[in-house]
Symmetry: C2
Subunit: 265 residues, 2 copies
């Protein structure tokens, strides 16, 4: 069991930011990624549809023989995590709880901002996760639907992104947040734009980093880390790989190779 | 046969701009719409995937008993029209040819601009359609991936849209276009922003209008217009209707009712 790979899935390329952190923290682990690029994005779709797609994606990775599943997609984590945890008998780790816990540690004034897709924000998953740990804290959230296409267009540091961020974040700034959860795996690419708009006093919580830390702890405590050296990386997508390979490089911070198309529906 | 409905399909809400023109020109016809909202967008997906999804969407509408099928999606028209025309024995009308013909009529300098999704531009469908009519004309095209999310966000006339349009259109302006094909059914919402950037000398071709005109001609010439008064409108979507109803109103220019969710995959 410890010699098996860790599975990571996302609706598209965004989860590669989590994959990148896992590569950094666990270089000897085998990693296998699935991007459901034929049906991306999940963020504007209903909870029922996202649950159905997530089950199909997770089933594919489980069929590859994995020891743990990372749901590297905030929308899927928000609405499908309990379903996936019930359905599979390996550890299933989402991105919400790690980010929420970190935000609780960081805030001083008690007002936390959360940004994400329409689906994530509407689910209220971050609010529940934060208030489960610290019920006295307040949360101001905003859906930022244009951030994903901006990041995928390579415009994360473009004037258009800055203007868009100013508009989306204005209500959160007005409410006096001092920590902001990047509740979408695409958003780490926008970090410098967000800091430019918010100032350095507002601390950003990168859920990709926090989730990777959480995976390490879980594997360590379960005695599930590899003993023999590994480090293989495999990538699967549900549409042809061309766009994934081109756009994904910026998310992975490395060039993408060995990408295979599979049917999961 | 003439008493049957006209079927219209799109990946999401964009095709409602075509539906709206059909309602205006053919108020007595029954119309049935399908938006494949569980798998939207098609514009960033591969030709093979778009063909597969288009066949499923068209089969659903044909099963509803329609006399003609309008492919109100530029991406699907670009890559799936011949497949659909082979597969079904009713008239199948796409949005590419009507827009291309109108652009040929409008240009004076012989340099036509075409904007659309990544899938539409990459397919070269407009270039082929324009040069089939007028091989001497030149075409400058640009993919504008951010226009769809901007229109769906309700930001079509926002400063962010203006800045984005300036960036996308700069190479077309530099090449001296005097007509611009709006090669995506979302783009009619951006008309005033585009005119603001391009000036009034550059004429915009609204493929929604041109396609509706083409449908009227086709039904007239085939003696397929209704004789008895009708005018029923039905809407189907593949995800829950909430977002479609909310966002779609701006595209239809009226509030959306009677929207039913169906499974087509």
């Amino acid at each position: 069991m410890p010699e098996r790979a860790i599975g990571v899935f996302d609706s598209g390329v965004g989860g590669l930011t989590v994959f990148k952190e896992l590569m950094r923290l666990l270089p000897e682990e085998d990693l296998v990624y699935l991007g459901d690029t034929a049906r991306v994005p999940y963020g504007t779709k209903s909870a029922d549809t996202v649950r159905r797609y997530s089950l199909e994606a997770a089933s594919f990775l489980v069929s590859q023989g994995i020891k743990a599943l990372v749901v590297a997609c905030n929308t899927a984590s928000s609405v499908a995590l309990p379903t996936l945890q019930e359905h599979f008998d390996i550890p299933v780790i989402g991105v919400i709880e790690p980010g929420a816990r970190r935000a609780v540690e960081l805030t001083r004034c008690g007002m936390i901002g959360v940004i994400g897709t329409e689906g994530t924000v509407k689910s209220g998953a971050y609010t529940r996760a934060i208030q489960a740990v610290a019920p006295e804290l307040q949360i101001a959230s905003a859906a930022c639907p244009l951030f994903v296409p901006l990041a995928e267009e390579g415009w994360a540091n473009h004037e258009v992104a800055r203007l868009t961020a100013r508009e989306y974040l204005a209500p959160l700034v007005a409410q006096g947040i001092d920590a902001l959860v990047l509740g979408c795996t695409h958003y780490p690419l926008l970090k410098s734009t967000l800091t430019g708009v918010l100032g350095r006093e507002v601390l950003l919580v990168d859920s990709a980093e926090e989730t990777a830390n959480c995976v390490v702890q879980k594997l360590e405590s379960g005695d599930m880390l590899r003993s023999a050296p590994g480090g293989a990386r495999r990538f699967f997508v549900t549409d042809v790989p061309t766009r994934f390979e081109r756009v994904g490089g910026a998310f992975l911070g490395a060039s993408l190779e060995n990408v295979t198309q599979v049917a999961i529906d």
